[in-house]
């Protein structure tokens, strides 16, 4: 009887464990497969020239250098515009805003901001930055558009990072006669910074992969060189991938997979950077 009971428990245990393993496999296998597939098909296209030359013959020949640099510019631009606003908004919402209906409304709006389809951001950017503010179809307009989209994430991650700074630190600071702002500036922010940076990098790598918003605010199909100013049009990897794959007849498949591979490497390396920063900080905080 007792033995039977143990057998049953064992069975439940094993079933649960198998289900968990299966769930993990369902998540992991497609990711591994996609990455392997892209590498297998695109690796052949990668060469020094492919990475450092401008495209020619509608992308069929030459390289993708302007698209790589354009994507990096976009990430940087989106970072410059969204990080300060995101951090300041995060500070305001956690440290200063009272808990009233307006604050709750703002919090809800921020959550919803993250769910707005990216093409809607594109049209918003087209209306506001390209036409109303007359920045034209440009790197600047696209950076601002992507920054708006990244805001939801930078505000949310900044808030979370700020909230998790223990109350003991704030009280310890205030108890020495530091002002509220000094406490935020010298105790809360340094503690929250790694979390904020991690969130910002993840938001940037997501922005790097966006196609729809930049499509309408300034991405160009083929440019011979790099944008000379923020008011110039630009190339970007996801848009280049889209046009070459969808609109260029006779486009070599290897080149398309090559573009995808480069985009993947850019995005994954920024994600890894975020993970790396988080691990480093955790070690420094708890190890030493």
């Amino acid at each position: 009887m007792a033995v039977q009971a143990i057998g049953k428990r064992e069975l439940t245990q094993r079933t649960a464990f198998s289900l968990l393993v299966l769930a993990v496999a369902i998540v992991v296998i497609p990711v591994v497969f996609i990455i392997a597939y892209i590498i297998a098909n695109g690796a052949g296209a990668i060469s020094w020239d492919f990475l450092t030359q401008p495209p020619s013959q509608a992308g069929k020949a030459g390289g993708i250098f302007p698209a790589i640099v354009g994507t990096l510019y976009l990430m940087l631009g989106a970072l410059i515009f969204s990080l300060p606003v995101g951090v300041l908004a995060g500070i305001y919402l956690t440290e200063y805003a009272r808990d009233n209906w307006l604050t709750r409304l703002i919090n809800m709006a921020i959550l919803n901001l993250a769910g707005v389809p990216s093409i809607v951001y594109g049209l918003f950017g087209l209306g506001l930055f390209v036409m109303t503010m007359k920045f034209g179809m440009s790197l600047l307009s696209a950076s601002l558009t992507l920054a708006c989209q990244a805001l939801a994430m930078t505000i949310t991650t900044s808030r979370e990072a700020i909230i998790t700074v223990p109350r003991e630190y704030r009280e310890g600071s205030l108890a020495t006669g530091a002002t509220k702002w000094q406490t935020i500036r010298h105790v809360v922010l340094p503690q929250a910074l790694p979390g904020i940076i991690t969130g910002a990098i993840l938001a940037m790598s997501r922005a790097a992969g966006e196609t729809a918003p930049i499509l309408v605010v300034g991405a160009a199909f083929i440019l011979p060189g790099l944008p000379g100013s923020p008011f110039d049009q630009f190339m970007a990897l996801p848009y280049h991938l889209y046009t070459t794959a969808a609109h260029v007849p006779g486009m070599p498949k290897t080149t398309i997979w090559g573009i995808a591979l480069v985009l993947l490497v850019v995005v994954l390396s920024f994600n890894s950077l975020a993970v790396f920063i988080r691990i480093r900080v955790r070690q420094r905080r708890f190890g030493s």
Binding site: S173, L174, A175, A178, H186
Partner: protein
């Protein structure tokens, strides 16, 4: 609980000059009354212990003196709390200036996750001292005062989190001393420490009480008996508001309490 009365210090009753004073203080958190009509005078350059059962408002009472309760939304104080006869709840009081004069040490050691040096220099830096030589002097002086200098002088650049719990708490005391306060509030400063670290902090408190007015909240009856000159016993009333039951010289309160409830508490009949 068996209280070792032999531990009681045969100290003279402190000088009469009053440093801190509360007059009919009521503290509310929203609709909840946390403290009711508490009046007491805390003498200068002495140690006053606040004792009482959990939840009786000891910490809330302590936090009146540096207005730390201000951080809690809905907190409201009426009556007067005075330092050197100036009501600190007056409208024109600068809370930042007040907290420079009234430092605080917390229950859990809370050094910042930065170097030992920067922890102590934190307050002076915020108050505009930036010259390194000046800061170095302040840091050394404060660490010596906190009886920590010899243990950390070779690791001023290391993270404060690498110190032991007792050292961290003395570092927090040094951090407060660096601002040159007049009053030091201590909220159960030894509750997270082992007995040896606790004794070190108690020795330190005794030596600091020559220059500073110290108010300590403690759960530990023997600690109150060992270190304090004056003792106040707080209790909850039926509606959970804390009130002052008895206040007087520690030796008197522990050996000859006037109130039956004080006697019951210190002899361990409840609490």
């Amino acid at each position: 609980m068996s209280l070792n009365y032999a531990l009681l210090n045969e100290r003279t009753i402190p000088k009469n000059e009053t440093k801190l004073k509360t007059e009919k203080v009521n503290l509310f958190y929203g609709a909840f009354q946390a403290l009711r009509t508490i009046s007491l005078d805390i003498p200068k350059q002495s140690i006053t212990a606040i004792i009482g059962p959990s939840g009786c408002g000891k910490s809330s009472f302590l936090r009146l003196f540096n207005r730390m309760n201000d951080l809690i939304i809905g907190a409201r104080v009426d009556g007067a709390v005075a330092i050197d006869d100036i009501n600190i709840y007056d409208r024109d009081i600068d809370v930042v200036e007040l907290r420079k004069r009234v430092g605080m040490v917390f229950q859990k050691p809370n050094p910042f996750p930065i170097s030992v040096f920067e922890n102590v220099a934190f307050g002076p830096r915020r108050h505009g001292r930036t010259r390194h030589s000046e800061l170095a002097d302040i840091v050394e002086h404060s660490l010596r005062q906190a009886a920590l200098w010899d243990e950390v002088k070779d690791k001023l650049g290391q993270s404060a989190l690498a110190l032991s719990g007792g050292q961290q708490q003395r570092l927090c005391i040094a951090r407060v001393l660096a601002v040159e306060p007049e009053v030091i509030l201590m909220d159960e400063p030894c509750s997270a420490l082992d007995p040896i670290a606790t004794l070190k902090i108690e020795d330190l408190m005794r030596s600091l009480s020559d220059d500073y007015t110290i108010v300590i909240v403690t759960h530990n009856m023997q600690q109150a008996a060992r270190v304090s000159d004056m003792a106040a016993f707080l209790m909850m009333e039926e509606d959970r508001a804390g009130t002052l039951v008895e206040y007087g010289p520690t030796s008197q309160l522990f050996t000859n309490p006037k109130d039956k409830r004080t006697e019951d508490y210190i002899t361990g009949r409840f609490g």
